[in-house]
Amino acid sequence: MAKAATRKTAAATPSVERRAALAGQELSATGVKLAVLPTAERISLRAPEASVAALSKALGVTLPRKPKTSASKAGRTALWLGPDEWLVIDEAGKDPLADCAEVTALHSAVGISHRNVAISVTGPAAASAINSGCPQDLSLDAFPVGAASRTILGKVEIVLLRTAEDAFRVECWRSFSDYVFTFLSYAAGDAAA
Amino acid sequence: MKKYSVFAIAREAMRGHKGWEEQWSSPEPKKEYDVIIVGAGGHGLATAYYLATVHGITNVAVLEKGWLGGGNTGRNTTIIRSNYLYDESAGIYDHALKLWDGLSQELNYNVMYSARGVMMLAHNVHDIQVLKRHVHANRLNGIDNEWLTPEQAKEFCPPLNISKQARYPVVGAALQRRGGTARHDAVAWGYARGASARGVHIIQNCEVTGVKRAANGAVTGVETTRGFIGAKKVGVVAAGHSSVIMNMAGVRMPLESYPLQALVSEPVKPVVPCVVMSNTVHAYISQSDKGELVIGAGTDQYVSYSQTGGLHILQHTLDAICEMFPIFTRMKMLRSWGGIVDVTPDRSPILAKTPVPGLYVNCGWGTGGFKATPGSGHVFAHTIARDDPHPINAPFTIERFRTGRLIDEAAAAAVAH
């Protein structure tokens, strides 16, 4: 499947600088810290039920089948986004696209490493800051550690992953990252209330 | 009908305002009428009024399930303009605008038509292209609509923010000076009074529950919560409920009904001198004679007859207002409410005969029906009286959705590329 996307051509290394959006930006407020996270490898993975086992094996992480959940192993996290859709994030410098290329079972893997920007929101008031613009219930009962969901923040779409009781990873598209960071900055200033 | 005037008021002031007669009577329904109008909103009452005054048909009943003027007539933001793009739309809305100018005198009822000017803002190159297309088409159709620079727009509406730092700066505007507002209740009441004085029966709290048809298919009357009422002709002017009534007659319509919300601020001294609309930022605003800022925007996304909508819709609306007028964040929303607007696929109305003999329909005005009230009533009365559309409403058929001859003002505004 999908060999064209991953076919390696010249084994060159970049001779030009990678400039990630908002690289290194941080902000601290009472009870909340925001930080733009380092770049990561990401794929949008689509597959029918029958392919899940093979893909899980290839990726080294079991693709979750339960809504609003994620699974994580060795720096690689798979987020359930829909019944046939996962966002796979690799923070260990490995290439999940290449892993999927080995799988013959029906699927679609598309590289989106540069499409998304990730912002961590941490601290005791992290959920409050996100709830300034996100209409979901972020209590630990409703959105426990490991919960993951595509949702809304203010006027844009985000993917939200709870990485700890007081820590979230917010993923958004590159051109919305400025809006998301600014929104969270305003929200952070009022989150401890 | 006793004439209203400053002298009448002075006379009544002397005797404690006890001599005013009823503005309209509330008769019991008769067994049969020549024409039944379903819906006592502005359009329905205007239809009855013009049936009586223009066509001499006075054996007319207007049936209203609630209270007259209580639907969209009493819930809209009262914007009046005629600067539409297509000849068909320009034709009907300008026909209405000409009637607005003089309606107070015609009805001897001050409907407070106020030609304060309607200014439509352009925020990008695409807006300029679209609005200029309107300006040029309007000019050749004899409809006033002029192009303003941002500075001229600000001069016309001083509180407008034309800063280049705005998220969507104002880059120009189209102004129709004859556009403006009117007092919505007065329009319904003025037509009701005029129609009632000429013998039209306005029957409130009378809900239509069925449409009766003879073996040959023709309409014979309507079932109501107050019994069967016969009629040779039935005109359906039921706005949000048009599909419901037409279904009773077995006619399925190309309509969907959505909640449309509006709001007013607390009254303040004059600050917004005209109507300002923006499609891109998406809101509109004017100020009533009472001093309230009158604000509206788009519909909720789903079909509903609940006459309520979501808070997030109001949020989007006020976001937009505060983007155009950042000085208004400290103003307060006093009242918000919802209406039910029936929308056609091309967002133009249907004013036409129907496949059912004796049944006529006037619907699909979407979010913009108030402005057409006099013109719509005038040509719909013609359509019913003559069993043949007036040239002005002839294009607004039901059949256009089959043939594809749409009057698609919204599509003509296109989308950003």
């Binding site: 809504p67 609003k68 986004l81 829909g82 019944p83 859709e85 209409p135 979901q136 969901s149 595509r150 949702t151 809304i152 779409e157 | 409920h241 599909s243 419901v244 399925r252 319509m253 190309p254 309509l255 969907e256 009904s257 996304q301 789903y302 079909v303 509903s304 007859y305 609940s306 309520t308 979501g310 808070l311 997030h312 029936d342 696929p345 959705f401 089959r402 043939t403």
Partner: protein
């Protein structure tokens, strides 16, 4: 803001995540070029627009991104049930007399 149960996410989520997609169970003909003008008008333009129970489509646009169907009362805006795209129109709707 409505609260809508997504049949794929198996929970109620805020309306902001959803996009209404119009009346449900209006099938596009497999032989669409063979449709008459009347058929096409019925398919593309005519809508039931009921005051009462509506069968409608929603997309969980900013959630699982799936289209699904809902049964809702247009007078109260209350949802009666939701179900996945492709499932047949429910013969019986809970709490609704037919």
């Amino acid at each position: 803001m409505l609260l809508i149960r997504c049949p794929y996410c198996e929970e109620e989520r805020p309306e902001l995540e959803f996009r209404n997609a119009g009346e449900a169970h209006i099938a596009r003909s497999a032989n669409i070029t063979g449709e008459s003008d009347d058929d096409f008008e019925k398919f593309f333009f005519i809508r039931s627009n009921p005051k009462g129970i509506i069968y409608e489509r929603w997309r969980h646009m900013h959630g699982c991104a799936r289209f699904f169907n809902a049964v809702r009362d247009t007078v109260t805006d209350k949802f009666i049930m939701t179900y996945k795209a492709g499932e047949p129109k429910p013969a019986k709707v809970p709490g609704v007399a037919k």
